[in-house]
């Protein structure tokens, strides 16, 4: 039986949870409510008047080819960021797991990039790939490749993906390493005796046993790519060229604060709100069930 602490009155427990509820209400529920409310109006750019349009903002949004393109961009961007950062992190974690000497140093070095803020990371990568003064673009030029992410949509997407994935590798690496180290050594040894070589062992034993970690990271990374990569995109491409790197979150910003279309921006926030709710439900619903072996 679960042990429960019981309070005699109702006021003490209310008092104890009140600060948390107050913070959530002021900083999350109120703005979310505002967004939903505003999404039903078209305000003038200076905020003096609002005109009721009902679901007009949403109708306009979903008939807007740029908005639909942004969905595709977001999907491509998130999948790439997630696959790249998780793939590299897993590879590094497998290597680190085999290390006996110096694993502490190796791990510490790998964790460092996590401490770099996304916007700063964006600036770092921007400098390296700057079309005029960037080190990497200069070397690419020497090799005969003309790097220009300001004009080339594919290169712009590649750069924001790399910059976003880079800082994420550390985080994923930590979780993968912990997951790998939680697999009993004797199970791996038993598989070795059973005749499985490294790659077979990884495919049939290690990877399935890592599935709880992998699923967790999958959800967390998608959420990251959706919502927390704003700084990187803002510093490197500002959503361009030709909106090629305008993911949904960036579009909320550029339509609302740059384009001054607050109604549409609010409607987009509501769409994102729904999306993140779905992701959270998926996370809670399946993280316990699907991944257990």
């Amino acid at each position: 039986m679960e042990k429960r602490v019981t309070f005699k009155g109702i006021w003490l427990p209310i008092l104890l949870v009140a600060p948390q509820i107050a913070i959530t209400a002021v900083f999350f529920f109120y703005p979310a409510g505002q967004a939903i409310w505003q999404s039903l109006f078209i305000p003038d750019p200076f905020g003096f008047s609002m005109q009721w349009v009902g679901l007009g903002n949403f109708e306009f949004l979903f008939s807007d080819p740029f908005y639909r393109a942004s969905f595709v961009t977001t999907a491509v961007f998130s999948i790439l960021v997630t696959v790249v950062s998780m793939g590299i992190a897993l590879y590094l974690a497998v290597l680190a797991d085999r290390l006996i000497k110096g694993s502490g140093t190796y791990r510490t070095l790998l964790i460092w990039p996590y401490a770099v803020a996304p916007a700063v990371a964006g600036v770092l990568w921007l400098f390296m790939f700057n079309t005029r003064v960037g080190v990497v673009s200069w070397y690419l030029g020497q090799l005969g490749y003309d790097w220009n992410h300001v004009l080339n949509e594919g290169e712009a997407m590649g750069l924001v993906v790399v910059a976003s994935a880079w800082g994420r590798i550390s985080y994923n690496f930590l979780f993968f390493l912990a997951g790998l180290q939680a697999i009993p050594k004797s199970v791996i040894e038993a598989a070795a005796i059973d005749g499985a070589r490294f790659w077979t062992r990884f495919r049939t034993i290690v990877f399935p046993l890592l599935s709880p970690t992998t699923f967790f990271l999958l959800v967390v990374n998608i959420i990251y790519a959706f919502f927390e990569t704003f700084g990187v995109i803002h510093t490197i491409t500002s959503g361009g060229p030709q909106q090629a790197t305008t993911i949904l979150v960036y579009k909320v910003y550029s339509d609302g604060f740059v384009g001054q279309d607050l109604g549409s921006s609010a409607a987009q926030s509501v769409v994102l709100l729904v999306l993140v709710s779905i992701l959270t439900v998926v996370q809670f619903k399946y993280i316990e069930r699907r991944v257990h072996y």
Partner: protein, 333 residues
């Protein structure tokens, strides 16, 4: 079916020597138990035979072939681990079939072999279950089944029973012995439990601090231990050791060893003692005595003999043939 030979096998981890040169010749079909206290290097020795640890120097041969640098999978061995090391995400069937699938054995033959092993181990009702849905004893059987289906030349057991409760341990002990006899496969079995060693072994290897102190048939080792360590480790309660200076006819520096069942009580004895406390176990009684110099001694007597009162003074004696003497280094004289 194979012989296993260890030639002056040594192991060091960095600067620490763990195994100082062990020689063992194991005949085809023989059941060898390596027994010793924790840290004596017995598991390391087994893992070297398995190929899970490198061999620092010396030679391990399986069926006459040196396997020092050969991968575990090519040594034709199967191992049962202390924690069973079952694949948690696979069913019992898949656990047993794993090695065969990798060896690309035809599906029908895999099914046959697993079915045979499951029948032998009474695992048939559980083939579709996952390891976490099994009891400790059943998991143990699956681990055995995984070893059996591959028809290896050598079975290696690394303390396979130490995670089971006492009753199950006795039962599984008997089953392992019967199974090994039936299959006739050479077996190397590591344990710290001297009862398992005595009951399972055709021959046992008693290890102490990285050295094989004695290799022999269990009863021979029991009756004729070559070192004080072996005399003390094999047998429960352990052999009594007395300083030679206490005993008339022996000199200082020599140690006398007498097994509890060889101590006779009654006046007048060779030594005088008083009864410290007694333990009546039903079939037998253990009598713990204290000698005049404070050293302790345990005697074992049949339950039919009257139990002396605690605190009573008593004479202690033994037959000369039962006394074992050891030099200062613990070697038998």
């Amino acid at each position: 079916m194979a012989t296993v030979t260890l030639r002056n096998v040594k192991k060091s981890f960095g600067k620490t020597d763990v195994i100082h040169g062990v020689d063992i010749d194991i005949a085809d079909g023989e059941f060898i138990v390596i027994v010793g206290p924790s840290g004596c290097g017995k598991s390391t020795l087994l893992r070297m035979v398995a190929g899970l640890e490198t061999i620092t120097s010396g030679e391990v041969q399986i069926d006459g072939k040196v396997v020092n640098t050969i991968e575990p999978m090519e040594r034709d061995i199967a191992m049962v681990f202390q924690n069973y090391a079952l694949y948690p995400h696979m069913s019992v069937f898949d656990n047993m079939a794993y090695g065969l699938k990798i060896a690309k054995v035809p599906k029908s033959e895999i099914a046959d072999r697993v079915a045979t092993a499951a029948k032998l181990l009474q695992l048939e009702p559980y083939l579709q279950r996952k390891p976490r849905e099994l009891s400790g004893g059943q998991r143990q059987r699956v681990a055995m089944g995984r070893a059996i289906v591959r028809k290896p030349a050598v079975f290696l057991f690394d303390e396979p029973l130490s995670n089971l409760d006492a009753k199950l341990r006795v039962q599984m002990r008997l089953e392992i012995k019967a199974l090994q006899r039936e299959l006739g496969v050479t077996a190397l079995y590591v344990t710290h439990d001297q009862v398992e060693a005595m009951t399972l072994a055709d021959r046992m290897v008693v290890m102490n601090g990285g050295v094989a102190d004695q290799i022999g048939k269990p009863l021979d080792v029991y009756a004729d231990p070559q070192t004080a360590f072996v005399a003390g480790f094999i047998g429960s309660p352990p052999t009594n050791f007395l300083d030679g200076g206490l005993v008339p006819g022996l000199s200082n520096g020599v140690t006398l060893g007498i097994r509890p069942e060889h101590i006779q009580m009654g006046d007048p004895g060779r030594l005088s003692a008083h009864v410290a406390y007694t333990e009546a176990l039903g079939a037998e009684t253990l009598i713990h005595c204290r000698l005049t110099d404070g050293s302790q001694l345990t005697a074992r007597q049949d339950a039919s003999v009257p139990i002396p009162a605690e605190g009573q003074s008593i004479g202690i004696t033994w037959e000369d043939g039962h006394a074992m003497t050891f030099d200062a280094n613990g070697r038998r004289l």
